[in-house]
Structure formats: structure tokens, C-alpha cells
């Protein structure tokens, strides 16, 4: 998680939280929702990237996730045959929309 805090993930989560209006919640609640969002983000990205790969590439990535480090990951995406940057940008956009939708549904139910 430290890594994520360093590279802007936390900032991203904060922006999402701001956009969906949960900054009005109590601090404890905010923390819990943030945790849910963070876990969801990781899963969301992992899944989207993973399933954008070909079957043999998936096995390779699985190995790297288990045993490898950032260097291997870097090398892997250098030759993975997918534009991971574009995929990430799209995924982040989709992710913000997804949570926006979730929050909109929530607020729509408030009379």
C-alpha cells in the first residue's frame, strides 16, 4: 500500500471520494468506504488488464505476480502486446464512472 500512496493512487481515491460526495460522511465511514474503493480499484484494474491479455500471456503474468518484481512486470508489459497505458487510462475513467453511478444510485434513494 505504501507504494500506492507514493504514486498517486491515494490521490486518485481521494478525488473519486470527493466526486461522489462522501466527504460529508464521518471520518470512520469515509475510511471504510475508501478501503472498499481501494480494494475495488485493485481488483478492477487487475481484472481488466488480465483479461486483455492472451491466454499464454496470462499464465506468464500470473507467475510474475507471484514471484517477480516491478522490473519483470515492466519488461512484461513492454512486450505484452497490449497498450497498457491506454488500458489503464480507460480503466480509471470507467472506475470513476462506476463509483459515480454507485453514489448516484445511493443519493437517488434519499428522499
Amino acid at each position: 500500500m505504501n507504494n500506492q500512496q507514493d504514486n498517486g493512487i491515494q490521490e486518485f481515491i481521494d478525488e473519486v471520494c470527493h466526486d461522489i460526495g462522501i466527504t460529508v460522511l464521518t471520518r470512520d465511514q469515509q475510511d471504510e468506504v475508501k478501503q472498499i474503493i481501494t480494494q475495488d480499484l485493485n481488483a478492477f484494474i487487475g481484472e481488466r488488464v488480465f483479461f486483455a491479455l492472451s491466454a499464454d500471456r496470462r499464465t506468464e503474468l500470473e507467475k510474475i505476480i507471484q514471484d517477480g518484481g516491478q522490473d519483470q512486470l515492466y519488461q512484461f508489459f513492454g512486450s505484452a502486446g497490449v497498450d497498457v497505458n491506454m488500458l489503464l487510462q480507460q480503466s480509471l475513467e470507467l472506475f470513476t464512472q462506476k463509483w459515480r453511478h454507485e453514489a448516484a444510485t445511493m443519493i437517488a434513494s434519499v428522499s
Binding site: 500506492q4 487487475g46 500470473e62 475513467e93
Partner: protein, 608 residues
């Protein structure tokens, strides 16, 4: 598909729908009857949805989605009751004959209708995804049936025309429906002659139909028209004006404007032919002044050559000009130029946002306006940029509240559509205003308003004893309290879900969160579950760590968007200050300098 097949398929799909109680208490033939009736009610619902997709979408959607079974029972009783009343009066044959469509034609299309209902319910009842083409096919079949039933058409037309008069302008929709139904001005004239439509109604309907015809003009059609104009201008103008119901001088203006634009863009292509062009215009002028000119008035040859190379572009331009002219013509004659143009909506929304003059503008009303916005935005798309340029109103920039809300609505609608069906294809935009899309868009707008209000209050620097401030703060506080409760439930739900997965020995792939994506892929065991916790999440975490610069880039863009939003809001406040005659702050000033009496209270009505 014949009727029998239709029924059997319908029943097969419905068998699961009998409650345990029904299965226990009803005799087999009663069960079968219950299923048949239920099927019939479903068709009735679908028919209603198809007939009035714009008129009462939310209401119908609400009925369909909120409590389908109860609604079915309710309709079932009413339907049956009505039929038995007719039966009692000895006129059941009349009732049945009037519902012929329901009994026969709909049954033949039960497969389609079942899909339609599934679509409306938002379930995945059908084996194959319901496509817009299916819906279109369904419309065609139903429209074909309606052709045989004049009173129903007339009733519907009366209703829709009345809506036009009440300024619930469904003209594009109504026009295109009429086109699909094969209505033409002759048939409308017939309805008028028989007293089914009043004179004023018939005229408006004809105009509406013609407007839709302009919209429906194909590229090829217009190139042909232009070519035709080049060969035989007066006849082309005459036919065009007749076809779109515009005066021949308007049709002539549109044609000559296009021709002069062609000239300008092609660097005075026609310069050499100046004399012949003048001569051509002179002849056309004579024709318009009433002089009988029956001979061909040829255009300079170079016009032909430009058309051959760039015909499509100029054809679109001509369609756009004609559509705009037709729109203005209708507005002028029926709506005195006051038909909820963007300006009116913008002002209404500003009033709503400001809401410091009284209680007479509610969130419901704002939402009504938003629906109109959605209709208008379709209108915009239909005729592209030219409409915007030609309208008396300058094209709306997203610096206005109107623009902001319109964008919010469009974003909601587009997102919903693309998530369901991928990128939009040509023609699909007509379905953007389905009830479900609208509902999502409204929820998104409400969220925007709330977030905006919270931000405004946080930054409010004026006298916090100001009643408007207090009121806004109370509104936000009430929503906050309710949201706290909602999110509390949400958190508990997620925790329970996670625990349930863990106790079932299943490692959650995604932290216990259901997403459309994860639902679609659940069960895909690509990691060794024994050795890894939450493998997808772990993979995602590593990938995100690796691609930090991309995340940073995205965050910067989000922040920039946020800044723009704040700037828009400040501009809006500035505009309100000026429009309301209140003290205005200097351009580019910050929110801190606005008049305290202009604190908006956007949420006041939303908490009712």
C-alpha cells in the same frame, strides 16, 4: 412464427412465475389460464411502453420495475373486469374486436414482446441480448398493424398533437413515428376531413411530419436534389418547397445560400462564369416573382463539378438549413418563438439553482426541464453543428448552468448506453431517452447538485446567519444524515458478503465487491487460489504500482476538471448576480466576493 408457437414459447418462459401458493391452490387449467392472462398483461404493458416511450416513460418504467408482479395483478384485474363488464352488456365481441391487436398480432410477436418486456424490466431473461434492431423490428411490426386501425391512430395522433400544443414538444419523435406508420399529408388530410383531427391539429401534424422528412433526408436524396437543382432549378425549388412544406422563397434561399457557400469555399470557382450565374439568378428571381418560366435554367458547369467532388458535404448543409428553417417556421407559427429554447431552460435552471425568490420551482420541475433538455440534445445531434450556428441563440457553451446540466445528462445517458451495448451506432441515439437511461441521468444530476452544494457551503465566506445559507446548510445536513445511514448499510452489506465468501471457502477475487465486470468473469480460476489471497486485487495493486505515472496523469486531469467545474460555478454565480440586478462581482472574481443574498439553495426542494 404462428400463434401457437408464440403461446408455447411464452408459457415456457413464464412457468417459473407461478407462485408456490398459486401452484398449490390453482387447478391445472386455472394455472394455464393464469399464465395466459399474465402473458396478455405483459403484452399490454409492452404495448403501452411501445406506444408512449416518451410520453410517460418514468411512470411506466416505475410501474414495470418497482413491482412488476403486483402491477400485473392489478392490470389483470382491470383488464378482466373491463372485459366482464362488456360481456355483461352483451358486447364482448366488440371488446374483443377492439383488442384484436392484443389478441392476435401481439401473440404472433410474443417472442419479440417477451424480449421487450425483459428489456424494460432490465433483466437478462432473454437468451440473446436484446438489440436495438429487435426493438426497431418490433416497432415496424406494430406500426404495420396500426395502419389497419384508424381510430387508434387518430386517438394517438390527437393525444400527441395535443402534447405539442401543450409545449411538450415530441416533434422529432412524433414525426418519425408517423413516417414509419406510412402517414403522409394525404392521410392526415383524410383524418381531418372525417373530423378525426381538428384543422389546427392536422396542420401542425403535417408540419411535424415534414420536419421529420427533412431530418430523414438521406445523403443520396440531397445530392440528387442538388444535381437536380443544377439542371432544373425552378422545378427543384418547387418540389423541395412542397415536400418540406416551406415557402418556395425559403427553399430558394436555402439552395442559393448553399450555392454561394460552395462558391466561397472553392475560391471563387464560379468567377469565370459570373455572367451566366447572374443570368441564372435573374431567371430564378423572375420565376419567384410569378413569371412563368417553364424552360430549364441550367447552372454554370462548375457547380456540377463541385457537386461531383464534394456532394455529400453540401447535401448535409442543405438538409441542415432546411431543418432549421422548418423548425423556425413551426416555432413561429405555433409557439410564438417561445418554445423552451435553451435560453428558457437555462433561466429556469438558474431560477432553480438560485431559488431565493420563493418555493415555486421544485426539483421535480427541474427534472422535467432536464427531460426536455434530453429531447433537445437529440435534436441537436440530429442536425449537427449547423443548427447551433443558425439558431438565434448562440451555441451553448458549457459555461452556463444549462450547459453543465445538459452535459451531466448526456454523460449519464451515454455512459449507460455504451456500457450496455458498446459504442453507439448510427440511429441508436433515438433510443437514448429510454426510461432507464433517463432515470440514471437524473440520479447523476442529483449527485452533482449535492456535491456542488456541499462545496459551496464549505467555501462560503459571508455571513453565516444569512437565511439562505442556513437553509442550504440544513438541506445538506439532512441529506448527509440520510446518506450516512445508507453508506452504513452499504458497508455492512459488503462486509457480510466478504465474510460469506470466506466462510464458503472461496477466496474473494475482488475484495467482495460485485462489479459488472467481475460478475461476468466470476469463476475464472486463473490464479492458484490456495497460494494467493485476492489474486485479482493483488495483480491490480502491482500493476498500479508499476504504472504510477499513468495514475498521476489521470489524477491531474481529474483535478483540472474539478477546477473547471469550480470556475463554471463561479461564473454562474456572477451571471445570477448580474441577471438578478444584485451587486455583481468583477469578472474572474472568486466565490468569496459574491453577494451573500445570492447564495444558491439547490437542494432545498430535493430534501422534500
Amino acid at each position: 412464427m404462428n400463434r401457437e408457437q408464440g403461446f408455447s414459447k411464452g408459457h415456457k418462459a413464464d412457468n417459473v412465475e407461478l407462485s408456490a401458493e398459486e401452484q398449490k391452490t390453482l387447478a391445472p387449467e386455472e394455472q394455464s389460464r393464469a399464465l395466459q392472462l399474465r402473458e396478455r398483461v405483459r403484452r399490454e404493458l409492452a404495448k403501452e411502453a411501445i406506444e408512449q416511450p416518451q410520453e410517460c416513460p418514468d411512470e411506466l418504467w416505475g410501474i414495470l420495475a418497482s413491482d412488476a408482479l403486483i402491477t400485473q395483478e392489478w392490470l389483470f384485474k382491470n383488464f378482466e373486469q373491463e372485459r366482464s363488464e362488456w360481456e355483461h352488456a352483451g358486447k364482448v365481441d366488440v371488446f374483443d374486436s377492439e383488442n384484436k391487436w392484443l389478441y392476435e398480432n401481439a401473440v404472433d410477436q410474443s417472442e419479440h414482446l417477451r424480449k421487450m418486456v425483459a428489456f424494460l424490466y432490465g433483466t437478462s431473461e432473454t437468451e440473446e441480448p436484446f438489440s436495438y434492431k429487435d426493438l426497431d423490428d418490433l416497432f415496424s411490426v406494430i406500426d404495420a398493424q396500426y395502419k389497419e386501425s384508424r381510430p387508434t391512430i387518430a386517438d394517438k395522433l390527437r393525444h400527441e398533437v395535443a402534447s405539442l400544443f401543450e409545449q411538450q414538444d415530441p416533434r422529432v419523435h412524433l414525426g418519425s413515428q408517423s413516417l414509419r406508420r406510412g402517414l403522409n399529408t394525404g392521410k392526415i388530410g383524410h383524418l381531418e376531413k372525417n373530423g378525426i383531427l381538428r384543422g389546427e391539429e392536422a396542420t401542425l401534424l403535417k408540419d411535424t411530419l415534414q420536419f421529420a422528412e427533412v431530418e430523414a433526408y438521406g445523403e443520396k436524396d440531397m445530392i440528387d436534389t442538388l444535381q437536380f437543382a443544377a439542371n432544373n432549378t425552378e422545378l427543384a425549388v418547387g418540389l423541395l418547397s412542397k415536400r418540406v412544406g416551406l415557402s418556395s422563397d425559403i427553399a430558394h434561399d436555402c439552395l442559393t445560400l448553399v450555392l454561394s457557400e460552395m462558391e466561397a469555399e472553392h475560391d471563387n470557382t464560379f468567377k469565370d462564369d459570373d455572367a451566366s450565374k447572374k443570368s441564372w439568378l435573374k431567371k430564378v428571381g423572375q420565376w419567384f416573382m410569378g413569371n412563368e418560366v417553364s424552360q430549364t435554367i441550367p447552372l454554370p458547369e462548375k457547380v456540377q463539378s463541385v457537386l461531383e467532388h464534394d456532394g455529400a458535404k453540401w447535401a448535409h448543409r442543405l438538409v441542415s438549413l432546411l431543418a432549421t428553417s422548418k423548425q423556425k417556421d413551426i416555432d413561429r407559427r405555433y409557439f410564438k418563438d417561445e418554445l423552451y429554447k435553451e435560453e428558457e431552460i437555462r433561466n429556469a435552471i438558474l431560477d432553480f439553482m438560485r431559488n431565493d425568490e420563493g418555493d415555486d420551482f421544485s426539483l421535480d420541475q427541474a427534472e422535467e426541464y432536464l427531460e426536455r433538455v434530453v429531447n433537445l440534445s437529440q435534436f441537436d445531434r440530429a442536425s449537427a453543428d449547423d443548427l447551433g450556428q443558425l439558431r438565434a441563440q448562440p451555441e451553448q457553451q458549457p459555461t452556463t448552468v444549462w450547459g453543465k446540466m445538459k452535459r451531466a445528462v448526456q454523460r449519464g445517458v451515454k455512459t449507460a448506453v455504451t456500457e450496455i451495448d458498446g459504442p453507439l451506432e448510427e440511429g441508436e441515439s433515438a433510443y437514448l431517452i429510454s426510461p432507464r437511461m433517463l432515470r440514471d441521468a437524473k440520479a447523476g444530476t442529483k449527485l452533482d447538485l449535492f456535491v456542488d452544494a456541499v462545496e459551496q457551503l464549505e467555501r462560503y465566506p459571508g455571513d453565516k446567519r444569512n437565511p439562505a445559507f442556513i437553509e442550504s446548510a440544513q438541506a445538506v445536513e439532512r441529506i448527509r444524515e440520510q446518506l450516512t445511514h445508507e453508506y452504513d448499510e452499504f458497508i455492512k452489506l459488503k462486509e457480510a458478503h466478504k465474510k460469506a465468501q470466506e466462510s464458503a471457502g472461496k477466496k474473494p477475487f475482488n475484495g467482495g465487491i460485485d462489479t459488472a465486470d467481475t460478475k461476468a468473469t466470476s469463476g475464472a480460476e486463473w490464479f492458484s487460489v490456495e497460494t494467493m489471497m485476492e489474486p485479482l486485487a493483488m495483480a491490480g495493486e502491482k500493476i498500479l504500482g508499476f504504472a504510477g505515472d499513468q495514475v498521476k496523469k489521470f489524477v491531474d486531469r481529474m483535478k483540472k476538471g474539478g477546477r473547471e467545474k469550480r470556475q463554471l460555478r463561479n461564473e454562474m454565480i456572477d451571471r445570477i448576480g448580474r441577471a438578478g440586478g444584485g451587486p455583481s462581482r468583477p469578472r474572474g472574481g472568486s466565490i468569496t466576493r459574491r453577494s451573500s443574498s445570492r447564495v444558491s439553495s439547490p437542494l432545498r426542494s430535493s430534501i422534500r
